[in-house]
Every structure is written in structure tokens, then in C-alpha cells.
């Protein structure tokens, strides 16, 4: 196979095109995945901000009923896996799941450890640091945002309950969003890219094979058949419609063959 022109020409082309396509596919998919995940984290952060803004007034008034209602309603929204608000001690103050309320959370647990890793907890986090992904009990991918609830002058000066000004963080909001839609979009993008890559690969290979056969292999075969036939019959005319280089070879061969036949005839005549 590697001794023939087709093998020698097609093997490197096949390796190079397939390999380069795979590299570009993986890198492009990785870049797209990063952009999609980054966007979903930004959106989840915005949603966490909206939840905090929605509960702010009820918190200022220390209205637990309204706060509970807001959290319950948000928790019922499709795609929201969990919503809970922790107080400073790590106890769940509000949750969309009633059985979680008043439960203590370990500060070393995922989502808490980001800030509580060191003896002095971190009080500010970037958008990306607030996010974490994990699989919940149902095996679904969840993107969770842990947003701190900062102490503001209105909180510290409120008449209903006292938070000293020195206390920077009053608690945290933890909201988990299903990643199902994002993962399904990524799967769809991946499938489309694989299809596109396969089509490109097939088209490139088919194009190379067709051109090679049309421009090189078929004329070469004609030339080979011509040389083989002219060995038996010197009156065979040289093939037409060959590419320039092969046509030159065929004409030269035809010329040499004629000369040889002529010489043979003359030598036969002279021996008679």
C-alpha cells in the first residue's frame, strides 16, 4: 500500500487533516465550554443579587414570614435546586426545604471552606470564587453560588435587632441552580461540532482522492497500459488527454519506440 502513489499521497494527508481537525475541535470546544460556564456563573451571581435585593426589605424589618415566603417562592422556580440563607453562626435561618431550617452547617463543607479556610474568614469574593459545582443527591449537576450578606448602615442602625458596625458579614445566601440546560446546550454544541468535523474530514479526503485519481492515477494507469501494450504491438498510438508532464513522457516513449522499431527493421533488412 505504501509503495503505491495513492498510499504515499493519502496517508500523510489523512493523518495531518484528521489530527489537526481533532486538535482544533478539542481546543474550540474547550474555549466554548469555558465561555458558556463563565456566562452561567455570571447569570447565577446576578440571580443571587436579585434574591438578596428581594429579601433586603423583609430582613431590615426582621419579617420572617415574608422572608420565608420569598425563599419558598424562589425555591419553587424550575431549575432552582436549593435556596437557603445562613446566619453568622452557620445555622440555616431560611430555606426552601423546611427540614433544613435551624440545622448547623460545617464550615469545612464545600462552599463554606472558600472563606473559612483560614483562621480569619475572607469577607470579599470575586464572582468566580463564589461559584462551585457538585452533583446533588439525585445525581444532577448543580452550580451553587454563595453570596455574602454584608452589614450595611441601615442594618447596623435598625431598631428591631442589633448588628454591631464591626460585624462585616451578617450571613450568606446559598442558591443552587440546575446545570441541566447548560450541559444539554454543551452536548448539542459538541454533537454539531463532531458532525461538522466528520463532514469536513470526509469532504477533504474525498476531494483529495478524487483529484488524485483524476489528475494522477487514471493518466498513470493509461500510460502504464500504453507501455505494456506497445511492448507487444509497436503500432499502438500514444494515449491522448494526459496531463502535460505525463503527455511528454508518453510522447518520448512513443518516439523511442518508433526509433527502436525502425532500427530493428533496418537491421532485419541488412541481414537479408
Amino acid at each position: 500500500m505504501f509503495d503505491k502513489i495513492a498510499g504515499r499521497a493519502l496517508v500523510p494527508v489523512g493523518i495531518v487533516v484528521t489530527g489537526f481537525l481533532v486538535v482544533c475541535f478539542v481546543l474550540l470546544y474547550s474555549a466554548i465550554k469555558n465561555v458558556v460556564i463563565h456566562d452561567s456563573i455570571v447569570q447565577a451571581n446576578n440571580l443571587a443579587g436579585i434574591v438578596l435585593k428581594s429579601t433586603r426589605h423583609a430582613m431590615l424589618k426582621s419579617d420572617r414570614t415574608v422572608n420565608n415566603a420569598i425563599i419558598q417562592n424562589i425555591g419553587e422556580q424550575e431549575g432552582v435546586q436549593h435556596v437557603r440563607i445562613f446566619n453568622k453562626k452557620g445555622i440555616v435561618a431560611f430555606s426552601a426545604k423546611g427540614d433544613e431550617v435551624h440545622r448547623q452547617v460545617d464550615k469545612k463543607a464545600e462552599g463554606c471552606v472558600v472563606c473559612h479556610e483560614k483562621t480569619v474568614p475572607v469577607t470579599t469574593l470575586g464572582n468566580m470564587q463564589k461559584a462551585r459545582t457538585f452533583k446533588n443527591g439525585l445525581g444532577k449537576e448543580v452550580l451553587a453560588i454563595t453570596a455574602p450578606i454584608y452589614n450595611e448602615p441601615e442594618c447596623a442602625n435598625a431598631a428591631c435587632h442589633v448588628h454591631p458596625v464591626s460585624q462585616k458579614i451578617l450571613g450568606t445566601l446559598d442558591i443552587g441552580l440546575s446545570q441541566e440546560a447548560t450541559l444539554s446546550s454543551l452536548a448539542s454544541i459538541r454533537l454539531q461540532m463532531i458532525l461538522f468535523s466528520i463532514l469536513t474530514l470526509v469532504l477533504t479526503t474525498a476531494g483529495v482522492i478524487t483529484l488524485l485519481k483524476m489528475i494522477v492515477l487514471t493518466p498513470m494507469q493509461k500510460l502504464q497500459e500504453y507501455t505494456e501494450r506497445s511492448e507487444q504491438n509497436s503500432n499502438v498510438s500514444h494515449p491522448t488527454g494526459l496531463p502535460y508532464e505525463l503527455d511528454k513522457i508518453a510522447k518520448s516513449y512513443y518516439f523511442i519506440r518508433n526509433k527502436l522499431t525502425e532500427t530493428e527493421r533496418q537491421s532485419v533488412k541488412s541481414t537479408r
Partner: protein
């Protein structure tokens, strides 16, 4: 490299002054050397597979990326590394195909394993190895397969020519010094 090719041709021409037995021995040695050289690409590919296995296991023997970043500073972003990887793959393939076309002898396989290893390490330091592992693996496999094929076809052609020279030597008791093509 071309200089060494010329030197080799001169050496063989000088060898033409030697006895047929020594010329025969030289040719057989050269054929043996070319056959050994033709496996160079496969050795490089095997070494790359070993490095890829280490990368697949996330370089467990290396310090964590955080420690390395703390010591050396932040690595380039995954996007920059990926761009460089695409550029490198493209250039390496073009270079290999050009060498294949020109029939130049070049021992470049093992340096590619080094470059690819650096890509694995950079992705590891940027904590982006799981997402980009297959890209580096694909790039390495493609480049090293192309290089192996180039070296293998180059050696095969040379061995065929040497065998022709050997046959000529055994028929006529001398090397075909009137055919410059046979001294390539």
C-alpha cells in the same frame, strides 16, 4: 544537514577506490544504520505515549499547581496556551511536510516530545489540563505520526537505493559512480 549529506556522498565516492569487499561492507553497514534510523519516529511516539500517561494521571509526582504558581508566578491563561498550541501544531506539520517533499534528512522527532511535554506542563500549571488533554495528545500524535512516516519513507527510499548499489557492485565489481542519484 545538507553538508553532512554531501560528506556522506564524498565518503561513498572515496569508498569507490576501496576494494569491493570493503565497499560491500560499507553499504551493508549503511543499510543497517538506515533501518535502525527508520524506527526513530516510533521511539519518539512511544516516549510521547509515556509522557501522555503521566499527564493523564495529572502528574501526581509534581508539586501542586498552586505551589508552583506561588513560586514562579501566574502561568499564561489556557486561551493563550491553546493559541500557541495551534500555531505550533500548524508549523510543525508544515515543516514536516516540507521536509518530506524536499527529501531532507532530519532527526527532529524527540525535540517534539519535549515541546509537547512543555504544553502538558503549562496546562497543568494553569489548571486546565483536563479540558485540553486531548488537544495536546491529538497534536502530539499527529505531529509524531507525520514525522515517523517522513523518516520511514526517507529511510525506505535510501535503503532501496543502497540495495540497488549493492546489486550493481555484486554484478560489476564496482559502484555505479556515473549515476549521481545513487549517492544521495
Amino acid at each position: 544537514m545538507e553538508q553532512s549529506e554531501n560528506n556522506e556522498a564524498v565518503t561513498l565516492r572515496n569508498a569507490a577506490c576501496h576494494t569491493p569487499a570493503s565497499q560491500r561492507k560499507d553499504l551493508l553497514d549503511e543499510i543497517k544504520r538506515l533501518r535502525r534510523f527508520s524506527n526513530r519516529g516510533l521511539w519518539a511516539l512511544s516516549l510521547f505515549l509515556v509522557v501522555s500517561t503521566l499527564a493523564w494521571r495529572d502528574f501526581w509526582f509534581l508539586p501542586s499547581p498552586e505551589r508552583i504558581v506561588a513560586a514562579l508566578g501566574a502561568p499564561p491563561t489556557a486561551m493563550v496556551i491553546s493559541l500557541v498550541l495551534v500555531l505550533y501544531t500548524f508549523s510543525a506539520i508544515i515543516l514536516s511536510l516540507s521536509r518530506m517533499m524536499a527529501g531532507i534528512r532530519h532527526r527532529s522527532s524527540f525535540c517534539h516530545v519535549g515541546y509537547l511535554c512543555v504544553f502538558y506542563l503549562f496546562y497543568y500549571f494553569a489548571e486546565a489540563l483536563p479540558d485540553n488533554y486531548w488537544a495536546v495528545f491529538g497534536a502530539g500524535f499527529t505531529i509524531l505520526c507525520t514525522e515517523s512516516y517522513r523518516i520511514w519513507t526517507f529511510c525506505n527510499d535510501k535503503v532501496t537505493k543502497k540495495l540497488e548499489q549493492l546489486a550493481f557492485l555484486e554484478r560489476n565489481g564496482r559502484l555505479p559512480n556515473d549515476d549521481p542519484g545513487l549517492f544521495d
